[in-house]
């Protein structure tokens, strides 16, 4: 299909992008890697009057260290995230999850910021950002503000971003001494997750000292499995104990029924996958 005609601005700075968005109101859309937006435009499910392309803003791309954090520019591609030595050292879960997205072409075009801002509950990176407790840096007409991961995604395809705001970068606290793993369950290799479970585990000898578990496609946004995290704290680091703890993995979730899977099946699946993800993250 061919999209409805639109105006196109290739911004050269964040300020220029913000100004353009502020001038256009809700009819403007930000174009990042285009991996979700372009199909929607081509199917004429959306018809923005203006596309503001962030591809020409150099400051939005790349990974750097800033004190205790990694800072990842919003326009950094999934491929760059998955292969960055800094990410692999200090936030390996991000690299692991970025590597599971779509296919090679998609990973070379799609961006971290685009995925987080699109807030598709079936996308992997929102759960990744939630697990590493990333902070989102948003730029608007009145300057910049920082939003924690827990407050960024609001609902299905809805975030804390205002119509005139741009996600500039995410700050990721450096973590070492945690094991991590992502269990992504999908029917087709290149498809979205039916359910995904991301786990980070810090061990204290034979027990799990602390665990973070986040869920893909188990609700309108990526979810933190808080009941499971509590059940895992202090849990023996063996397969049986972990599996037992994972019986609560579906607590607090609200998965949907759709063509790929029923809610009932997703609630079952998340327990099995959580067991596998946590066990792998715990190294058992």
């Amino acid at each position: 299909m061919i999209p409805v005609a639109f105006d196109y601005l290739r911004a050269s700075s964040v300020d220029e992008a913000v100004a353009a968005l502020a001038g256009a109101g809700e009819d403007a859309k930000i174009l990042a890697g285009g991996q979700s937006l372009l199909p929607v435009l081509r199917l004429r499910l959306s018809a923005p009057s203006l596309l503001v392309d962030l591809g020409g803003v150099p400051e939005l791309r790349g990974v750097r260290e800033e004190g205790d954090s990694l800072v990842i520019g919003a326009m950094t591609t999934h491929d760059e995230v998955s292969t960055s030595p800094l990410v692999r050292q200090f936030a390996p879960l991000l690299a692991t999850m970025a590597a599971t997205i779509g296919d090679r072409q998609v990973r070379h075009r799609g961006t971290l910021g685009g995925s987080l801002s699109h807030a598709d509950p079936a996308a992997d990176m929102p759960a990744a950002a939630a697990a590493v407790e990333a902070r989102y840096v948003l730029a608007g007409p009145n300057g910049r503000r920082v939003v924690p991961a827990s407050d960024f995604a609001v609902d299905l395809f809805t975030t804390a971003l205002g119509d005139d705001e741009v996600l500039v970068e995410v700050q990721v606290p450096k973590l070492e001494g945690w094991g991590s793993h992502y269990e992504k369950f999908h029917r087709m290799v290149q498809a979205w997750a039916i359910v995904g479970v991301a786990a980070m585990v810090r061990r204290d000898d034979g027990a799990i000292a602390s665990a973070r578990v986040t869920l893909t496609n188990m609700g309108p946004t990526a979810l933190r499995a808080t009941a499971l995290e509590q059940a895992l704290a202090g849990c023996a680091a063996d397969r049986a104990a972990i599996e037992q703890a994972c019986a609560v993995a579906a607590e607090g979730t609200s998965p949907r029924d759709d063509l790929t899977a029923s809610a009932e099946y997703r609630r079952h699946l998340v327990q099995v996958l959580a067991g596998r993800a946590v066990a792998a993250a715990a190294g058992v």
């Binding site: 299909m1 005609a5 029917r187 087709m188 063509l259 899977a261 029923s262 099946y265 699946l269 099995v272």
Partner: protein, 788 residues
């Protein structure tokens, strides 16, 4: 001197057409641009069933760049009805099928209006300005409910949703299935559901109609340029000699382009009204909605047997979804399967009954295998269940029933004469390649240890009928056309060869395979052969490509044409060598005088002599060319054994194919690389039916699998490595010995995969998993199985 034979037939040559096909630097229809060409877009119905109460295109006409817009009502008196060439019974209910809906729409996606503009974007934009008022009606979607009293009707004027019932019954010849059932020691009764599939060819359909001065040139991404030309003439009133149809390079079809489409006729009407060339290229969304679908039938099967495993009969009752209308060969698709429910087995009683039903869905029609995959699936699933019932290994229960090598030619209960086959050899090879015994031992271990990942092995010993088709049989089955094929061979003055074939390749590699045949028959270089196809001006006669017919029918015509050319060249060569034609033998690419092999003339020598025509034997015309038309006396019957080993994660329901072995016997092989490619592609589509693909209409009749996000054909990354091997039992019914390979993989693979899944889950009480066997369905089957 020693004369060496450099045989091309049998060599795994790379395909000569691939460079242009893979790079796209070729004439795909959508690549073609004509001076003054306009672009058409089609507005499609959002409803499955509705009355059109008003429709207004005037606002669209005011949009930029728009040249014309019209509706079905505007062309009602000229548009006619799309054809069904296979009205399978005398009393078939055959509703009109206007290219553009006039006062009612009967499926989601039916064309209701068009815009023609100077560019494609403007045409698409202007569709939004068309105002249509619909009065939605209750759609007919469920096959059994459609047949029930009081169902809404797809075509109220017909008074029924039933199109036809077609019956074959061996009782007429003496042995009936009811008698077999009465005496049966074992009865296997099953219902299988063939889900609806979408052919998903790579190149969306595209058509250009150029109205010249009273004559029309039509480019179409079709499998059937010759058939299309006939129908264009019949449907539009244009004299046939004023219609030229060109199928340039075509990117796949799988039966999905074996159709005379609404879009082709609408584009014609647009071009005729406006008097300028018009192009229509569909989007993938259009393909999903409006190109015909495949399969979609309910199969009730009753297999009867004795306790020693001997099958005594099979009774099959089908309900087949025709969609909202009858497609070009749609009613005949299940009938092609009717000859295959006995498969490779010998038993005396068979009854087949098929009822074709209308629903508010897009038409179904041919899709890779067309009737034969469905038959093979039901039979091979039931054979596995029979083995379980009797405690027999699935291979053993088959072996006790299949036709033995020495029993050919064998007349089947369905009335076909199988000329040749060796089911023992193919099966033995497949078992060895799979490592069958070792996997069975591993399966036993996993069962004993309660491993959450269970192993299953699925078997499919299939045959199929290829080489469509003997014209007399087609006539007896009420098909409108014949099944012959034609070829012309002309040797140019410099010894290069042009071949004109009536087949219409759309990915099969005919240019390569045909060149290999000609190279051997005429002793010319492979690279010196050019194969022309798909243009009714150069190839005026032919019946195109479908039903694994091109080599098994068209290839024979080609051999016969080559031999006519060779015979004439022999006469000329003998004249040049001043000997009798009988003194010449044709070896090493030349006619040689027996005993004096250095005295030789090649085909090229003869071609130049004929061109010069200075000294030709009396009665020899100055041309070295010939054509031949071959009408097969019977079908050909490739067969094979496919084995599939799957691992099923019983906690998630996920199925992983661990090993897939395909041993096919397609008779003599012209090019083993092409054969292997066909097997891989067919197996991929067979696996896709088993595990991945399903076209789904929701309860309102909306197609919800309208893109590749929801309708999920597997990519290479989703497919296992395929071990493909062959046995070779030549066909005895024609000079080439070939049998056909285009559909084999798609026929064999689906039951092999599903049998493997069910085999893995037998300890859980699972007897069936509906296709596609998604993880959730497998998980639910395990839960419903009743075992722990």
């Amino acid at each position: 001197m020693t004369v060496t034979e450099d045989r091309q037939v049998g060599a795994g040559r790379l395909r000569k057409e691939d460079a242009r096909l893979i790079t796209g630097r070729t004439q795909w229809t959508d690549n073609i641009t004509l001076p003054g060409m306009l672009h058409m877009a089609i507005l499609r119905s959002p409803f499955a069933s509705a009355r059109i109460t008003s429709i207004d295109v005037s606002a669209a006409l005011d949009r930029p760049n728009v040249v014309a817009a019209f509706t079905g009502a505007d062309v009602a008196d000229v548009q006619g009805s799309l054809p069904c060439a296979w009205p399978v019974t005398e009393d078939i209910v055959h509703p009109d099928r206007p290219p553009l809906a006039v006062d009612a729409v009967r499926y989601h996606g039916e064309a209701v209006a068009v815009v023609v503009a100077r560019d494609r974007s403007s045409a698409m934009d202007a569709l939004e300005a068309i105002d249509v008022d619909y009065e939605p009606l209750t759609p007919v979607l469920d096959l059994e409910e459609a047949l029930a009293d009081g169902s809404p009707l797809v075509h109220p004027d017909k008074g029924t949703n039933k199109s036809y019932t077609w019956i074959f019954d061996s009782a007429a010849a003496g042995t009936g299935t009811d008698a077999a059932a009465a005496d049966a020691e074992v009865v296997i009764e099953r219902r299988y559901v063939q889900q609806r599939l979408i052919p998903a060819f790579m190149e969306p359909r595209s058509v250009i109609v150029d109205p010249g001065a009273g004559e029309y040139t039509i480019w179409s991404a079709t499998q059937i340029p010759h058939i299309l030309r006939v129908f264009y003439a019949l449907l539009t009133g244009t004299p046939e000699h004023k219609v030229r149809v060109i199928a340039p390079d075509v990117g796949g079809g799988f039966g999905g382009k074996l159709q005379v489409t609404p879009e082709e006729l609408i584009t014609f009407m647009a071009a005729r009204r406006i008097g300028r060339p018009v192009k229509y290229t569909e989007t993938r969304s259009d393909t999903m909605l409006s190109a015909h679908h495949g399969r979609d039938m309910i199969q009730d099967v009753r297999l009867t047997a004795r306790r020693d495993g001997t099958v005594t009969g099979i009774s099959v009752k089908l309900i087949a979804n025709m969609g909202a209308y009858l497609g070009l060969v749609g009613p005949g698709v299940p009938i092609l399967g009717a000859f295959m429910y006995n498969g490779i087995y010998k038993f005396p009683a068979y009854r087949f009954e098929c009822t074709g039903v209308f629903t508010n869905t897009v038409i179904t029609d041919a899709y890779r295998g067309a009737g034969r995959p469905e038959a093979t699936y039901a039979l091979e699933r039931a054979m596995d269940d029979l083995g379980v019932e009797l405690g027999l290994d699935p291979i053993e229960v088959r072996r006790r029933n299949w036709i033995k090598k020495e029993e050919f030619p064998f007349t089947t209960v369905a009335g076909l004469v199988y000329d040749s086959g060796d089911y023992d050899a193919a099966t033995a090879k497949a078992l060895a390649l799979l490592g069958y015994d070792k996997l069975r031992a591993e399966q036993a271990d996993r069962r004993a240890s309660g491993d959450p990942v269970q192993l299953g092995i699925g078997t499919s010993t299939y045959t199929e009928m290829c080489g469509l088709a003997p014209s007399r049989i087609l006539g007896a089955l009420r098909y409108a056309a014949g099944g012959w094929e034609t070829a012309a061979v002309r040797v140019l003055p410099t010894g290069k060869v042009e071949v004109v074939t009536g087949t219409s390749p759309h990915g099969q590699g005919h240019e390569t395979a045909w060149s290999q045949i000609v190279a051997d028959e005429l002793g010319v270089d492979f690279d010196d052969v050019e194969v022309l196809h798909g243009d009714t001006r150069s190839s005026y006669k032919g019946l195109d490509t479908y039903g694994s017919r091109s080599l098994a029918v068209g290839g024979i015509a080609l051999v016969e044409a080559c031999r006519k050319v060779r015979d004439k060249a022999r006469t000329v060569a003998a004249h040049m060598l001043e000997c009798s034609p009988d003194d010449l033998e044709f070896t090493g690419g030349a006619f040689r005088v027996r005993g004096t092999p250095d005295a030789a003339k090649t085909i090229a020598d003869a071609a130049f002599a004929v061109f010069a025509a200075h000294d030709l034997p009396d009665g020899i015309e100055a041309s070295l060319d010939a054509d031949a038309t071959f009408d097969p006396q019977t079908f050909s019957f490739p067969h094979g054994t496919h084995l599939c080993a799957v691992e099923v994660d019983t906690r998630t329901g996920r199925v992983d194919i661990r090993k897939y072995v395909a041993v096919d016997d397609v008779g003599k092989v012209i090019n083993p690389t092409i054969v292997e490619g066909q097997v891989h592609g067919g197996v991929a589509q067979g696996i896709a039916q088993a595990l991945h693909e399903e076209a789904v209409y929701d309860e309102s009749g909306t197609l919800v699998t309208g893109s590749f996000v929801d309708y999920t054909p597997p990519t290479a990354a989703d497919l296992p490595d395929i071990v493909a091997d062959r046995t070779e039992t030549p066909a005895t019914t024609h000079p080439l010995g070939v049998k056909g390979v285009g559909e084999a993989g798609a026929i064999a693979a689906t039951p092999a995969v599903v049998n493997a899944i069910v085999d893995a889950l037998r300890p859980f009480g699972v007897r069936d998993v509906p296709m596609p066997c998604t993880p959730e369905r497998v998980w639910r089957a395990i839960r419903a199985g009743g075992a722990s």
